[in-house]
């Protein structure tokens, strides 16, 4: 039959729309975790306080790393849109590596805190801190897995210029995770925290 489906929709791609709706929803998720943290940041019981323990210089470096991974992400996308598969892959891999570096830094940070006496059960503050940054870390990790999947697909010649939208959508997710970190870095780390 004749396809006369000229929908009066918004004219934007379904997939992208879905991703944006999802990101809108994620705002509420991270908002909840961040508020929980804020409410509890001064309740450190007998354990270390945030101000005692944060290593701002190190976290600054991680934040830079994540921020720059957003750049490489967008470069990857624009390469794909140009049909430049070599650079697509290059930037994809770079993004994933920078992400892995960030996560490695987080593992390092968590381990340090643990050694310094901040366990997951130490205080409401510690629980909230690990949960918030842990959730963010999990998001980043999922992002890395997606990037790697795209990378492998691309190696096998399956990531075509015509399907650049897939990459764009993964990119949206990646940038969102970055944006969340921008928030976390400022509000949780840089705004002066209570000390014991």
């Amino acid at each position: 039959m004749t396809e006369n489906e000229h929908s009066v929709g918004t004219g934007v791609s379904n997939n992208k729309l879905l991703m944006w709706v999802f990101l809108g929803s994620e705002c509420l998720l991270f908002g909840g975790l961040i508020s929980t943290y804020l409410i509890y940041r001064s309740r450190f019981a007998d354990g270390p306080a945030p101000g005692d323990i944060f290593d701002i210089p190190f976290t600054s470096v991680s934040s830079f790393v994540l921020l720059m991974s957003s750049l490489t992400m967008v470069l990857s996308l624009s390469s794909l849109q140009r049909g430049d598969y070599r650079n697509t892959r290059l930037w994809l891999l770079t993004t994933a590596l920078l992400g892995a570096l960030f996560i490695g830094g987080q593992v390092y940070e968590f381990t340090t805190f643990l050694r310094e006496g901040l366990g997951y059960s130490t205080s409401p503050f510690s629980s909230a801190f690990f949960t918030l940054t842990g959730f963010h870390g999990v998001h980043v990790s999922i992002g890395i897995v997606m990037l790697m999947s795209l990378y492998v697909s691309s190696m096998r010649g399956n990531l075509k210029r015509e399907s650049s939208e897939t990459l764009e959508i993964v990119g949206l997710y990646w940038h969102f995770v970055d944006v969340v970190w921008i928030f976390i870095f400022t509000v949780i780390y840089l705004v002066p925290s209570p000390t014991s």
Binding site: G11, L28, L190
Partner: protein, 112 residues
């Protein structure tokens, strides 16, 4: 940016979002701006003794600017359908309003 650099992908030309994606250089420019702001943010940490009343708004402003740049440029909100912006902003604003009220009820601001 030169238009020749940017070829349109075939899939998107019917979707009505026909627009110029910025060049890589533009992205790099944005990234540099972001990096500079981040550096400024971090610098406040080494400025001991800046009173909270100045420091915190300053940090928040810088944060919002960064946020804005990433969303507008890297996430293409500037060029894409305004609908996306609406969805994202809806979530963002709703989250902010709701949680700020919640924090207020918790008397979060009282402690300073």
């Amino acid at each position: 940016m030169s238009k020749t650099e940017i070829e349109h992908s075939e899939t998107s030309d019917d979707a009505g979002d026909e627009h110029d994606h910025p060049s890589d250089n533009k992205y790099i420019q944005i990234a540099i701006i972001l990096a500079v702001i981040t550096a400024l943010e971090v610098a406040t940490y080494f400025f001991e003794g800046m009173p909270g009343e100045i420091l915190i708004p300053l940090l928040l402003i810088m944060m919002v600017i960064k946020f804005f740049y990433v969303a507008a440029w890297f996430m293409h909100l500037r060029f894409d359908s305004p609908l996306f912006t609406k969805f994202f902003v809806a979530g963002l604003v709703l989250a902010t309003v709701v949680y700020v009220i919640a924090l207020t009820v918790f008397e979060f601001w009282h402690k300073g």
